[in-house]
Amino acid sequence: MPTFFERRQLVTPGDLLAEGAYIPGENTYKEDKKIYASRLGLVEYEDKKVNVVALRAFYVPKVGDTVVGTIVEVGFNGWTVDISSPYLALLRASDVLSRPFRPQRNDLSEVLSIGDLVIAKIVAYDRAHDPQLTVGEPGLGKITRGQVVEITPSKIPRLIGRKGSMISIIKEETGCHIILGHNGIILVTGKSLENEQLAMMAIRKIEEESHTAGLTDRIAQMIQEEKTKQEGGKEK
């Protein structure tokens, strides 16, 4: 039962990863007892399971995920939300408005209009239906302040780090409040513009270098350096 690559090696679609009694994991497929990669990424052999951590992927909705989306259409009974996935999501009016509403009388664009950003949770999704969102939980709803960064959704786990080590460093060092949408859109809210920019810079750096080793330390170092630079700039 041989494996053909080393751990964390870069593979392309179609590369033969393993042969024999292995189980195909993420971004892989099995044919004739052989496991191949189906996306560009890094291989991980985990006991009998073969995974590929994709370097390029798009967001596929999953029930329970928190996402950041943009309102693209206001309808009679709700909104259509772009969650940067192959499918548009639906947000029902009855979910946003706790009171009963009448489509004839209430104008939904007063509550959320086109271009507004929302944090929402996916409550229902399957192959046959578009994802449905809810904002009926604490922390969800319309975004009123902060900035957004978009990254490849498959890199969200890297941004969180082992037991949240990476994200907590950014949060602590910059003093920003960061909300990670599983769809790769990240909301950064901080006390000042400089802090927000610093956090965004760190996030972009993580996206670019997500597959390199010792990244957490380098990010911490980069934030420190930038901080001293900013302080130096203020004194002048």
Binding site: P13, S38, R39, L40, A54, R56, F58, V60, A128, S154
Partner: protein, 244 residues
Amino acid sequence: MSKKPEKLIDKKGLRLDGRKAGELRPIEIEVGVLPNADGSAYIHQGKNKILAAVYGPRELHPKHLALPDRTVLRCRYHMAPFSVQERKSPAPSRRDIELSKVIREALEPSVFLEYYPRTGIDIYVEVLEADGGTRCASITAASLSLADAGVPMQDLVVACAAGKVDDTIVLDLMDTEDKVGEADVPVALMPNLNAITLLQMDGILSLEEFEKAVNLALEGCRKIYPMQKEALKAKYVNVKEVEE
């Protein structure tokens, strides 16, 4: 247009551009050249210059084309008006429409279409300069841009042509050889699965010659494949090198 040359292969057995019969033109491939596309690739093969871009999977418009059980793959092959000697009308010609279909059908078996029902993937292939064998170079580039877009696929698709010129079977025909020569056999291949996804023939070949041409074209595909793979990896390896 330039005059028709009398001999396509000289006494030393060299072709018009100095290549041997089984030799490829120099190939350069780059991935991720268009920031606005989900995936993109550029191929420079001999004098061919081709850009490929992929958008999606995304909501399909017009919606009535969407299928309930799989993604719809659409492809548009287009030649820029300045891509050939004589200005080509930018309107899609009969040939453009055929090539769009052929490229789409060569790529379809490689993509897991059933993963994202009710959506569409659009492939745009723009030929900036044409010098024979554009369909093959287009397939090679389009397959790379699909991988760059993060579309799950069984394998990359590589394509290469072989043909008959002055009674010799040669690899990777250029424009003049394609037009003056006797036959042209483009082949597309999924190298890891060893599956052919495109096989055409234009011209007259005996059964033996045909077999020889197909095998030569397959050999060409296997030579291009490592370059294609390297191009895809290069985008990420470069970042690594800067850091270390």
